[in-house]
């Protein structure tokens, strides 16, 4: 039901402020161009979905938004990305601060081999929060926001890796929320978990939309249609070519009335 709401809001097409802006972005792994000339706005407190067949560069693109690609040797970027109008590629830009503001949930749930409590408290401790009461309340509120509190409140000291896959992924969401980010990136967050757990996470995203700007990479078109307000379709035309942005717009429009024929073919499942 929430998913329906989401779409209606998107369809109203109100003018929304933009949180992040991707301008003519190209990215290279060494000599290989992974994505080319992508221009995209990420509206504030909305969910933007990146869809496309595997290998189209959607994960690469989302990893540019918090500069996680920096960790790979030989990565080069052209073009620009701004966060609240400020370029994140500006020389001297603090990537640690960027990653606190732009959090990330990964494809496979990756809790640390620590207790549930320590997993959530990890981020706050990094910024120097030491007081037990303060940490306690952050852990509790983050787990509540991630809809996991009731399931784990009795065993916060147990290893986070003992939880089920879906619970682990919500733990990872709680861990991100505890850092109080402004943007949360989801890189195929449901690809490794079952449908019921997926449903929970989608509900959760709809709730989080009130306070957070979100970008979700998904290979599941139904998921994009259910959760997102805006959708961008990426595609690699021929093997060896970079991924390009084919179409970007409100999710409703993209799914019911796409402009580009390739988008329509993908959405109706005729290739990909």
């Amino acid at each position: 039901m929430r998913a329906v709401n989401t779409q209606e809001q998107g369809a109203e097409g109100m003018t929304v402020e933009k949180k992040m802006e991707i301008q003519n972005l190209s990215m290279y792994y060494g000599g290989f161009k992974a994505i080319e000339d992508i221009t995209l706005e990420v509206p504030a407190r909305r969910i933007t979905a990146l869809i496309g067949p595997s290998g189209c560069g959607k994960s690469t693109l989302v990893r540019c938004l918090n500069r996680m690609n920096d960790l790979i040797d030989g990565v080069r970027v052209e073009g620009d990305i701004t966060l609240d109008g400020e370029s994140i590629f500006r020389p001297g830009y603090d990537t640690i601060d960027l990653r606190r503001r732009v959090g990330m949930v990964f494809q496979r749930p990756n809790p640390f081999p620590k207790s549930i409590y320590e997993n959530v408290a990890y981020g706050p401790k990094l910024v120097g929060i030491k007081k037990k009461e303060e940490l306690d309340s952050i852990v509790e509120s983050s787990l509540k926001k991630a809809a996991l509190w009731n399931e784990v409140k009795a065993n916060l000291r147990e290893s986070g890796q003992n939880l089920s896959g879906g619970q682990q992924q919500r733990l990872c969401i709680a861990r991100v929320i505890a850092v109080q980010p402004e943007v949360i990136l989801f890189d195929e967050p449901c690809s490794a978990i079952d449908p019921v757990a997926t449903q929970l996470i989608e509900d959760l995203m709809a709730e989080l939309k009130e306070n957070y700007t979100m970008v979700i990479v998904t290979h599941n078109m139904q998921q994009a249609a259910r959760v997102s307000d805006y959708t961008a379709f990426l595609l690699v035309q021929e093997q060896g070519e970079p991924g390009r942005l084919i179409e970007y717009g409100e999710t409703n429009t993209i799914f019911t009335n796409p402009v580009d024929e390739r988008t329509e073919r993908y959405i109706t499942g005729r290739f990909g």
Binding site: M68, L71, D73, F112, P113, Y122, L126, Q161, R175
Partner: protein, 287 residues
């Protein structure tokens, strides 16, 4: 012969080879224990002081020397190994420098231990004027063990999944924080296991310590700068010099005790590693 018969022959051959490997180990263990177990379990022998002349000497200062040496040598080599392994696994770019470090380590690992012993005499005993002492031996053994310890520590660090590093970095942790808070704690069970082999080697080493630590003491050495007499070296000296009438008993009993000590240390380290792993990594394999 038919294929089936060949198969039978092959099975028998491999089975026999396996049995030979076990038999050799069993023979050595039984032989050593058979000759020395009775002496080794005698409290007078374990807790007694050695005698320079006359029979009935014990070996307590030697047991203590060995354990002291293990602690010192590991205390010196483990931090260096962890530090270097972190550099090699986390920071160093693949390429010439890394390969060169590996080449040096591998060369170091193949040197005979007497070479390390003589190096230890030249540097610690003579040049540093430490004389024969535990610390000189500990440094010598630390260098001797560095290649193995470093390599296995590096392997333990490399086994930490990259997803942990990604998660930590994405939460705004620096590389160093990630290593300290996530990578090293996750690698610790592996690192503990990695110290087993070097400890066994320290306990059993004689060539590298007879010229650096000493082969005879009357009392328990407390100061790291004291001369000491690790068990393996003492056994060697008694066997070589026949200094006391009951040297045979001492050698046999000492050898049995040495074997028992190695077993105890091995199982303790295994137990500690597993226990830590169970506490930290419960259910790590359920992905």
């Amino acid at each position: 012969m038919t294929a089936k018969q060949w198969d039978k022959v092959a099975t028998c051959v491999f089975w026999a080879l396996g049995i030979i490997a076990i038999a050799i180990l069993a023979f050595i263990i039984l032989e050593v224990l058979g000759r020395g177990l009775l002496t080794a379990l005698n409290p007078k022998f374990i807790f007694g002081k050695p005698k320079a002349m006359g029979s009935g000497g014990g070996i307590f200062p030697m047991i203590f020397s060995t354990l002291y040496l293990v602690v010192l040598a590991i205390a010196i080599s483990l931090p260096i190994s962890i530090g270097a392994a972190i550099y090699m696994a986390e920071y160093a770019k693949k390429g010439r420098i890394n390969n060169f470090i590996r080449f040096c380590l591998d060369s170091l690992a193949t040197l005979p231990s007497i070479v390390f012993g003589l190096f230890g005499v030249a540097l610690f005993v003579t040049a540093f004027r430490w004389s024969y002492c535990l610390l000189a031996g500990a440094f010598t053994l630390a260098i001797l063990n560095l290649p193995i310890l470093l390599r296995s520590t590096e392997e333990a660090i490399k086994l930490v999944p990259d997803t942990y590093r990604e998660a930590s970095m994405s939460l705004g942790a620096s590389r160093w924080t990630t290593i300290r808070q996530v990578v090293v704690p996750s690698a610790l069970p592996g690192i503990i296991t990695a110290t087993i082999l070097p400890i066994g080697r320290i306990v059993g080493e004689s060539a590298a310590i007879i010229y650096t630590v000493g082969v005879f003491v009357r009392n328990v050495p407390l100061n790291p700068f004291d001369t000491a007499a690790p068990l393996a070296g003492y056994i060697w000296a008694r066997q070589a010099e026949h200094g006391v009438p009951d040297w045979k008993t001492i050698v046999n009993g000492g050898a049995a005790l040495l074997l028992i000590m190695v077993f105890i240390i091995y199982f303790l380290a295994r137990w500690a590693g597993n226990r830590y792993q169970r506490k930290r990594l419960l259910g790590a394999g359920n992905k």
